[in-house]
């Protein structure tokens, strides 16, 4: 360890050369928290749209088409959608980049593993964040191929516009039992990710300074995880059981 050094130009002597708040691991965590919260907002909106499937074929499709013209004439056609895509992509890049860097540091911080290690005080969801995140990433790639960029109808084998309108593509997809299974597993993962992630983001933002606030935020995280994962799961389950067809 070097002796305390005074960097020319810096206002005060610090042990670490040029210590800045924005260069700390906590700054990475703040980025992680904020990008994660952007996703929470998005999935809430997305879930609301999905539940439109219960209003039937026309209502669901009208909602889907309206998203493309949302904000017109102030925005161009598809303007809102592309702004959302841009924002989500930025959040994804930040979230994944920070996760990779923090994971790298965590691995380096414990070069030799324990022979025996208990995890007292940890909920399972908290230890599933990295693998869960990777699972969700792979799921999102498939999900976009499935419904957005490729439009793949696994029941009829059609792709693109021939795959059917949004509602029919949705129903055909979840009529296939293993597609429903993939989506339900992904939603369980999303629920676990949110259960720990929402609490973690509040803690990182410094909003859980008392035992009461901590307990409150943990309850909210759990409730949000159940509402979002459950809300998304309703549609595939309803299709598979014939409630929606």
């Amino acid at each position: 360890m070097a002796n305390p050094v005074t960097t020319p130009g810096s206002k005060r002597p610090t042990l670490v050369d040029g210590a800045r708040a924005s260069r700390t691991s906590i700054a990475l965590k703040l980025l992680m928290a904020l990008s994660g919260l952007a996703f929470v907002g998005f999935v809430l909106g997305h879930m609301y749209g999905n539940l439109k499937a219960f209003s039937g074929h026309d209502a669901f499709n009208e909602y889907a088409y309206h998203l493309k013209e949302l904000g017109e004439p102030m925005l161009p056609h598809m303007g809102f959608i592309w702004i959302m895509r841009g924002g989500l992509l930025l959040a994804l890049i930040i979230h994944v980049a920070c996760a990779i860097e923090l994971t790298r540091r965590a691995r380096k911080a414990r070069p030799v593993q324990y022979v025996v290690k208990k995890h007292t005080g940890a909920i399972p969801a908290s230890r599933l964040m990295r693998w869960g995140g990777l699972t969700l990433f792979l799921f999102i790639v498939w999900h976009l191929v499935n419904f957005t960029f490729g439009k793949v109808n696994v029941e009829t084998g059609e792709t693109g516009d021939a795959a059917g309108d949004p509602y029919n593509l949705l129903v055909d997809t979840f009529d296939v039992w293993w597609m429903t299974l993939i989506y339900l597993v992904a939603m369980a993962m999303l629920g676990a990710h949110l259960h720990h992630g929402v609490w973690s983001s509040m803690q990182t933002l410094g909003l859980t300074g008392t035992a009461e606030a901590r307990a409150r935020v943990k309850t909210i995280s759990f409730a949000l995880a159940i509402v979002i994962a459950g809300g998304f799961s309703l549609v595939p389950i309803a299709v598979l059981t014939g409630l929606i067809d």
């Binding site: 610090t14 700390t24 593993q113 940890a122 410094g206 859980t208 901590r214």
Partner: protein, 247 residues
Amino acid sequence: MNLTLKIWRQTDAVDKGKIHTYAISGISQDMSFLEMLDVLNEQLNEQGEEPVAFDSDCREGICGMCSLMINGEPHGPEVTTTCQLHMRSFNDGDTITIEPWRSGAFPVVKDLVVDRSAFDRIIQSGGYISANTGSAPEANSVPVPRDNAVRAFNVATCIGCGACVAACPNGSASLFLGAKITHLGELPQGQPERWSRVVDMTAQHDHEGFGGCTNIGECAAACPKEIPLDVISQLNKDLRTAMRHGH
């Protein structure tokens, strides 16, 4: 009590080290965990073997020197330090695995002894207040609101033992860091350096090679002084505020 001990043996910092198994008998339930190890070492001495090196100092739970990972938990199954852990917490015939703290920032010196001077450097980087020299000021001239005094005192009980780092899946020292930041940040005397302190200490924490916190909570569960997780929230809040103050 008869026990099987699986103990990490490592001759020096460069040795790769491995687990050795020892059988030990005639252990009283009233012995402390460290006294049990003392018995083992006497036995090893008689056999002409090298005794197991482990850290201890006050043996009354206030110095933070003893540091053993016992069956996968820092300081063992009770919420206390290893020296205050007694053999009545174990059963006759148990197998007990004893390892050193595992952290890149706490290199193993020998067997179960690790070098925790990384914590000293974190304190050195900002865990202080500026005080004028001269005669001591009248203590009551700086009033401290009760709630602040209580919180500062509660987190000041941190003995810097490193159990939080040992327990953390990320090898983070955020609970230690949060305890120090909260302790000084709650008191009027800690205000002048408040924002530079959090930045300097966090930078030193990262520089030492400790990982980032993911708010899992194993640290608080392992802490023998029951430092609560909300000190990490305080740490994050102070760093965020320091950023706004231009640090």
